[in-house]
């Protein structure tokens, strides 16, 4: 049973870059038994994907294995050439990828793409291959498989595309499947369905699986054994229970702490040593809003219809008090981003009213809103810190821009002071200010985005998935920063996210959206602990949970 299917021995992989050779994997040793599911966890840049690509021989031209062995059934994969290699790829081991839609050929029907894979390794007729492809579509539980055979990838949802990708990967019954972030970018509910399917298929066919992910919770849910990677090395390898209850390595401890769980609070997201500074902020009591204060934001019967389609958002009403934080959750297509953009006055609502600080702002056309005095009161932080910063603006310019446009400040000492003050508020080192976005890390860019949004001292900050593109440890820091801004500056936060764990920690209240309508709303903790609707329950149950120490002790 415990026959070793794959054995990676002291693997080194280097990439040639403009700055010379950079070693991405530095001595990874790993073994996979046949039939087991191994989790390979780490943050971006840890070399986990590179290890996977080296194993399947899909490293791009710049990458090279410079040391070590990858033994698959005793055969060194790194030395295979030509036909031997093609025999291996697909037939013996295969891979599924992040971003399933891009991973499929956009101008070839999915039936043909699956058949391509089958015909590569089996000498059968095209009709037989087509029939097998149809069976595979059934196996991955695609509805109406006959019709889907002639569909193109763009006609399918992300989850469907990933199922097709799984069908392609398992088409020739490989004994090893490497799944590289297979569900990143999918909704939590879809994520669960796809991962369950993958686990079932792997179990039914006795396939060994390596699950490469940044999500500890996901790995913990599906894997018996987890290897944690940091900067090209494996720092710890254990079963999930041991890993979470008693992490040995300092990096694992930090990673475990930063992964939000069902019970964690924002202050828990860092290791105990780092917790001190933050505790002081949290302990300060919040000033209670006096009775009878009008709400900061009141939204009444908001609706948005895009041309000729059905309503993206319909009958959406909510209120927010100053300094309050409200979460807006739902699956993709639920209208949460559309709603947040209407409130931000980036797009015009079709119906309804938005009242901010007692004044109606819903009727001001979004393209004129930059002239409104309320523009600086309502600011936005966008999802992708890479895309939302002007690549030709330095960090300083990014933060100074709204000050000059909205506060009418001129270049000079006063402006410099304000920008530096903002940078300090978000914990951005001042020596990074002259840098351009591509010279900053993801977390630093996120801070610039937040500093830019708070530069004009807004009263309402709308955040559209601000941490979705960030590693968990960076996410932890950003979340703490947001929470502190709210507590210290009384900024109200409207937090749009699909990550329920994050919303639960950060937001006082939560609104659950589905198909453009409100399904449920209420106090975050109560709502998540005791969901009233099936939809919310499904969302909550889909979150992969980490079993932590005390819980485990009871279970044992």
């Amino acid at each position: 049973m415990s026959e070793e299917l794959l054995k990676i021995d002291d693997l080194h992989v280097a990439f040639s870059t403009r700055r010379g050779m950079v070693e991405a994997v530095r001595g990874v040793t790993l073994a996979v038994q046949s039939g087991e599911m191994l989790g390979l966890v780490g943050e971006s840049g840890s070399g986990k994907s590179v290890t996977g690509f080296a194993t399947t021989r899909l490293l791009d031209a710049a990458g090279r294995v410079i040391g070590g062995k990858i033994l698959f059934r005793g055969q060194d994969v790194t030395k295979l050439r030509g036909d031997d290699l093609r025999q291996l790829q697909g037939a013996a081991m295969s891979m599924i990828f992040q971003n399933p839609r891009a991973a499929l050929n956009p101008i070839r029907t999915i039936g043909l793409q699956i058949a391509d894979a089958i015909l590569t390794h089996k000498r059968i007729s095209k009709e037989a291959a087509r029939a097998e492809a149809l069976d595979l579509l059934r196996a991955v539980q695609i509805r109406d498989p006959e019709a889907r055979m002639s569909a193109y990838p763009h006609e399918l949802s992300g989850g469907m595309c990933q199922r097709v990708m799984i069908a392609i990967a398992i088409s020739c019954n490989p004994s090893l499947l490497i799944a590289d972030e297979p569900t990143t970018g999918l909704d939590v509910t879809t994520q669960k369905v796809v991962m369950d399917l993958l686990a079932d298929i792997a179990a039914a066919r006795g396939m060994a699986t390596i699950l490469i992910t940044h999500d500890l919770g996901l790995a913990a849910r599906y894997c018996r054994r987890i290897a944690v990677m940091e900067r090209g090395r494996i720092v710890e390898e254990a079963d999930p229970r041991r890993l979470f209850s008693a992490p040995q390595h300092a990096y694992t401890r930090r990673l475990v702490a930063a992964s939000p769980t069902a019970t964690s609070r924002i202050e828990d997201l860092v290791t105990e040593e780092e917790r001190e500074a933050y505790a002081a902020v949290v302990s300060k009591p919040r000033t209670e809003v006096a009775h009878g204060t009008p709400p900061l934001l009141e939204v009444r019967k908001l609706a948005k219809r895009f041309d000729q389609g059905s309503a993206a958002v319909a009958d959406f009403s909510m209120t927010m008090a100053g300094g309050e934080s409200v979460g807006l959750v739902g699956e993709s297509g639920s209208g949460k981003s559309t709603t947040s953009r209407m409130i931000c006055r980036l797009i015009d609502p079709s119906e309804g009213d938005i009242v901010f600080d007692g004044q109606s702002i819903g009727h001001i056309a979004s393209r004129d809103f930059h002239g409104s005095p309320f523009r600086k009161d309502i600011q936005m932080v966008f999802q992708d810190p890479n895309e939302s910063l002007n690549p030709r603006y330095s960090a300083f310019d990014c933060i100074a821009h709204p000050l000059m446009r909205l506060d009418g400040m001129r270049a000079g000492d006063a402006l410099r002071k304000r920008v530096e003050e903002c940078a300090q508020r978000v914990g951005l080192p001042l020596d990074l200010l002259p840098r351009f976005p591509h010279q900053l890390s993801g977390g630093q860019k996120a801070r610039v985005g937040i500093a830019r949004a708070i530069a004009c001292r807004p009263r309402l900050l709308v955040l559209d998935e601000p941490t979705a593109a960030l590693d968990v440890s960076v996410q932890a820091v950003v979340l703490q920063l947001l929470d502190r801004l709210r507590r210290e500056n009384d900024i109200a936060l409207l937090f749009v996210s699909h990550d329920l764990n994050v919303v639960r920690m950060l937001c006082d209240r939560t609104i659950v959206l589905r198909n453009g309508g409100i399904v449920e709303q209420g106090e975050s903790r109560a709502l998540f602990d005791n969901p009233k609707t099936d939809y919310t329950r499904k969302l909550v149950e889909a979150i992969p949970h980490i079993q932590t120490g005390p819980v485990l002790a009871v279970a044992l």
């Binding site: 899909l58 697909g90 971003n99 101008i107 070839r108």
Partner: protein
């Protein structure tokens, strides 16, 4: 996918309608431009250099040039509406007839040149993209640079010098066919096709030999943009996720490169080919002159030099309509080649 095709047709129809105002604009603009340019057709067509003032006045009145320009424009537009492009002073024939006689020659030359260019450029671009930075890649780049640097009339003359004068392989560069070959019955107007339809292989070979040098010299000029765009989009395609997927299941090299990478990479090449074709149609006047090719471009140039309004206006209208048609064709091709287009 009949639905996709239908949607493409609807889109194409809409495109055609929306280009009508542009065509009208071209008409009016060319008309006005011709009146502004120096040169008086009446003086030009007066019987001799010593024609009297009265005689010139007479001709001018006869041609309607004494009327105010807006009135001339109205007459012109109504003529166009009736399908009358006017009469060429130069040949004495209706412009429509002249163009109809000469257009197939130009089209045959341009199509052949584009075909040669595509056949050469796509493989060159693919080979260069498969090994970026290699000697092959640099070789292709050098070849493309040379093709662009050398003007078509120079490369045309060089080709004549080498293949006609030195090697004697090519026939003398005097039009579409030598005077001794009898013409086939006209069906398509494309000599190479008409000969084939008539079953005259010898005549077909003679026509092809006449065609090959001018077509190659035109093709040389447009290989560069086509090869470069093929290389660039092939590089993107080869680096894309779906090619990685194809490699991950062990598809053969041929399948990965041709079916997966190239079919996706060819989409932008179609667009560029359409643009290149339109440019070639208008710009092949130099090649037509060098090879005495009886095409529309050299006809228009001659008319322009002799201030013969009607042929020039007719030529510009023809070019604009062809441009619209070619773009339409590209649109339809794109809709068929890329299933995503018809949805958006």
């Amino acid at each position: 996918m009949t639905g996709g095709l239908g949607a493409t047709m609807v889109r194409a129809g809409r495109r055609l309608l929306s280009s009508l105002p542009a065509l009208f604009g071209v008409l009016v603009f060319t008309f006005l431009l011709m009146r502004v340019l120096p040169g008086d057709p009446a003086v030009f067509f007066a019987s001799g250099p010593n024609a009297g003032k009265e005689e010139i006045e007479q001709i001018r009145k006869q041609m309607g040039l004494n009327k105010p320009v807006p009135e001339q424009l109205v007459y012109y537009l109504s003529d166009i509406g009736h399908g009358n492009l006017g009469r060429s002073m130069m040949t004495g024939q209706p412009v429509l007839k002249d163009l109809r006689e000469r257009l197939p020659a130009s089209l045959e030359l341009t199509f052949t040149a584009l075909l040669i260019a595509l056949i050469a450029a796509v493989p060159l671009g693919v080979v260069a993209a498969l090994r970026p930075g290699s000697i092959v890649d640099h070789g292709v780049r050098l070849f493309c640079a040379l093709g662009v640097c050398v003007p078509t009339f120079v490369s045309g003359l060089l080709l004549i010098y080498v293949f006609y004068y030195l090697l004697g392989l090519a026939p003398d560069p005097t039009g579409r066919i030598d005077v001794f070959t009898s013409l086939p019955p006209q069906r398509t107007g494309f000599l190479s096709i008409d000969f084939l339809l008539a079953g005259d292989v010898e005549g077909w070979w003679a026509a092809c030999k006449q065609l090959i040098l001018p077509a190659v010299s035109m093709a040389l000029f447009v290989i560069a943009p086509l090869a470069r765009i093929t290389r660039a989009s092939m590089l993107v395609s080869l680096g894309s996720d779906f090619v990685r997927t194809a490699r991950s299941v062990g598809l053969s090299w041929h399948k990965v490169v041709v079916t997966y990478a190239l079919r996706n990479a060819i989409l932008p090449v179609i667009t560029i080919a359409g643009i290149v074709f339109s440019t070639m149609l208008g710009a092949n006047v130099l090649v037509e002159k060098v090879f005495s090719w009886p095409g529309v471009a050299s006809y228009a140039l001659d008319a322009l030099l002799s201030s013969d309004y009607a042929p020039v206006q007719g030529f510009v209208l023809l070019m604009a309509s062809l441009f619209v048609l070619v773009n339409l064709l590209v649109d339809v091709c794109y809709g068929i080649a890329d299933p995503r287009v018809s949805v958006e």
